[in-house]
């Protein structure tokens, strides 16, 4: 999960869009959750 930490909020949002994962803005209070969703998608 750590390798997502290097992505910027914009880059993370682009991955969420690419994987078609429903999401709102990537902000401090949502970032961890979205990193987890991407990890789950990729694994």
């Amino acid at each position: 999960m750590d390798d997502y930490a290097v992505l910027s909020d914009t880059e993370l949002a682009a991955v969420l869009r690419q994987y078609n994962i429903p999401h709102g803005p990537v902000v401090g209070s949502t970032r961890k959750l979205y990193e987890k969703k991407i990890f789950e998608y990729e694994t």
Binding site: P22, G24, P25, V27, T30, K32, L33, K36, K37
Partner: protein
């Protein structure tokens, strides 16, 4: 509990006053920075009112189970 809560403005009420969030979960929310009740509905809005995402966030943040986060 929900009715009492909704009967007046949220104001500065603690997270523990939210329906479904008791003493224990309220404490955990506080530790994670969501000490005021209004932060929790704020997070629901920021998650685009997506119930699944919100439920997952609440579980990750304070261990709320399905019923508690539904409340």
């Amino acid at each position: 509990k929900a009715r009492d809560f909704l009967a007046e403005p949220m104001g500065e009420k603690p997270a523990g006053s939210l329906a479904g969030i008791g003493e224990v979960l309220g404490k955990k929310l506080e530790e994670r920075g969501s000490d005021k009740a209004y932060v929790v509905p704020g997070q629901f809005l920021v998650l685009k009112e997506d119930k699944d995402l919100f439920r997952e966030w609440l579980k990750d943040t304070c261990g709320a189970n399905a019923k508690q986060s539904c409340d």
